[in-house]
Amino acid sequence: MTDKTAPLTDSSEGMRYLERVPRKIVTVYVPLGIIILVLLFPFYWMTITAIKPKEHLLDLNTHNPFITWSPTLDHIYDLLFKTDYPVWLWNTMLVSVVATVLALLASVFAAYAIVRIRYRGAQWVGGLIFLAYLVPPSILFIPLSTVIFNYGLFDTPFALILTYPTILIPFSTWLLMGYFKTIPFELEECALIDGASRWQILWKIVLPLAVPGLISAGIFCLTLCWNEYIYALTFINATEHKTVPVAIVTALTDGDQYRWGSLMAGALFGSLPLVILYSFFVEHYVSAMTGAVKE
């Protein structure tokens, strides 16, 4: 009834005037709330486990497991000072950052060459790079382990620094190609007429304009490196060279005795740097994710 009297003049509102709050609660808010609850519960559970006293962890009946009134920092203390956790975190950061920088440099050149220099066969190379994105690490790690061994890189950070770019380059090249295509050709033509070399054009015109794309690619690459497991598990042996995901599982489970508090604290601290970084660059991250898919 009220539908007919609703103002139709506001075009920006679209068809939203048709929606009624009670209906929306049932069809949108409740399912959305349930899904978000399920998506976030593991993080809540991580946090609460990391700050619960040990005896509460294994006794669900005398204390309400969902909340704790006597938070403790014991697990976090154990993690930071009784294990090599800071070293592992440092390794993870070092490997991720260096691999990301290397991958970005290589992809900037490759993407620029494919999109703008357009050498013979550039289209084919673009297609091959996309195919390379579809080659998963889990079919490469066995032969790659012998390659790494023969190059003498086994058990050094370089084993990871040099192999991670293979996961990152196809993705970021593809993403940057999309960004470079949006930069007007005329800018480059002007610069060429003024006598700029390709190198100068890339550094002084194209790159400054592609900064959002670089940030997107960088953030996404960083999370990919941080997440990587199978190479780190296969190529690194010494505890002091391990990355967080590999080290945390082996180090904090002594036999059957799992140190759940410290494990959860470790998982939390391992994710926190990424989540903080992500929170600053949500839009860039999303555009990297969707950009790579849309292309």
Binding site: A103, T146, T173, M289, V293
Partner: protein, 352 residues
């Protein structure tokens, strides 16, 4: 005299040097610009890929060069795939079938080969298909929900994506604790609510473990699919919905005849990625169940790791398992490629 000054010949242009000619040559420049990326991809991607296929025809042990390994042809594959061992007797077949034994076929004709490998192939396919279908259904539903006009939509979208940001291994550890046989919070809650009388053995029973692993995979994959599909949904012009509303379309019809067809290309790409990464999943299974109990969650990727790196250290056999994944991946890529072809046809460009 002005004329004389004018007639004085200008200094001739220097002929372009080889270097300066090279500096504007597209192919030459392209070569140098491509070099860093190509070096990485050839040394650490294309070469290992070929090497892996080569290793799969040898009986190499770990640390053995391809040159010193014995070439054994397709023996690895024969061993893995096995052969049919059929004792086909119609009488026995019918008597079993009518006796209510529906395993009749399996009992008479079985594949004699590597049972662990067969189980891993089954697990991988089951895991991939079920997880991908669930991820797609829930992801699309979540995307449609998020496409509504919501307060704080940007914040909600950022929160939804968090499971995808957090490294898989770290969230797998959280699930490991959530699925603990004794102190699982889910078991405890189920008991409190009267849904269960004793602890649920999430990771100790084969089918429980499979569903738990699928749940964890879906939990991590849904945000990716939801957010990418949301980006696709936002490109659908609202005028189409307005027009269909005037025509009296129901919500389901709007979804079926407007949203879904316009979303098909992006669905094809997203699902290809999702299926590829689920099929080759390693980390979640490695941390959550390590293939157990008794190989019931072993995937092809984890099995190849166990064969090649741990245990037997038989690189050749592990490489054969990895190589056996390639046909599945290719099939997946081809299906998606034809999905993209359809998009061109729908858009009416290059209608050939």
């Amino acid at each position: 005299m002005p004329e004389a000054v004018l007639r004085e010949p200008a200094a001739p242009l220097k002929p372009p040097t080889l270097l300066s000619r090279l500096m504007v040559n597209r192919d030459w420049l392209g070569f140098w610009f491509m070099l860093p990326a190509a070096a990485f991809l050839v040394l650490f991607l294309a070469y290992p890929l070929a090497l892996g296929i080569a290793y799969s025809f040898t009986d190499a042990k770990i640390g053995q060069d391809i040159g010193s390994a014995n070439f054994i042809g397709i023996e690895n594959y024969q061993w893995l795939i096995g052969e049919f061992d059929c004792k086909w007797e119609w009488a026995a077949f019918w008597s079993r079938l009518f006796g209510g034994d529906f395993g009749a076929l399996g009992a008479l004709c079985k594949i004699v080969g590597d049972d662990q490998f067969h189980l891993a192939v089954f697990n991988t396919l089951f895991y991939t298909i079920v997880a991908s279908v669930l991820k797609f259904a829930i992801g699309l539903y979540l995307a449609v929900l998020l496409n509504n006009h919501l307060p704080f939509r940007a914040v909600i979208r950022a929160i939804v994506l968090v499971p995808f940001i957090v490294p898989t291994v770290l969230s797998a550890i959280a699930f490991w604790w959530i699925f603990d046989p004794q102190f699982s919070i889910v078991s405890w809650s189920a008991k409190q609510m009267g849904l269960a009388t004793e602890n649920i053995n999430f990771l100790g029973e084969p089918w429980n473990a499979r569903w738990s692993a699928i749940f964890a995979n879906v939990w991590r994959g849904v945000p990716f699919i939801a957010i990418t599909l949301l980006a696709g949904l936002q490109t659908v012009p609202p005028s189409l919905y307005e027009a269909s509303t005037i025509d009296g379309a129901s919500r389901w019809q709007m979804f079926r005849y407007i949203t879904y067809p316009l979303l098909t290309p992006i669905i094809a790409v997203v699902m290809t990625f999702s299926v590829l990464f689920t099929f080759t999943d390693f980390q979640l299974i490695k941390v959550l169940t390590n293939g157990g109990p008794a190989g019931s969650t072993e995937l092809m990727a984890t099995l190849s790791f166990n064969r090649a790196i741990l245990g037997g250290q038989r690189i050749g056999e592990g490489a054969a398992i990895s190589t056996a994944m390639i046909p599945f991946l290719l099939a997946c890529i081809l299906i998606s490629w034809f999905g993209l072809q359809r998009r061109k046809w729908q858009q009416g460009e290059a209608n050939d």
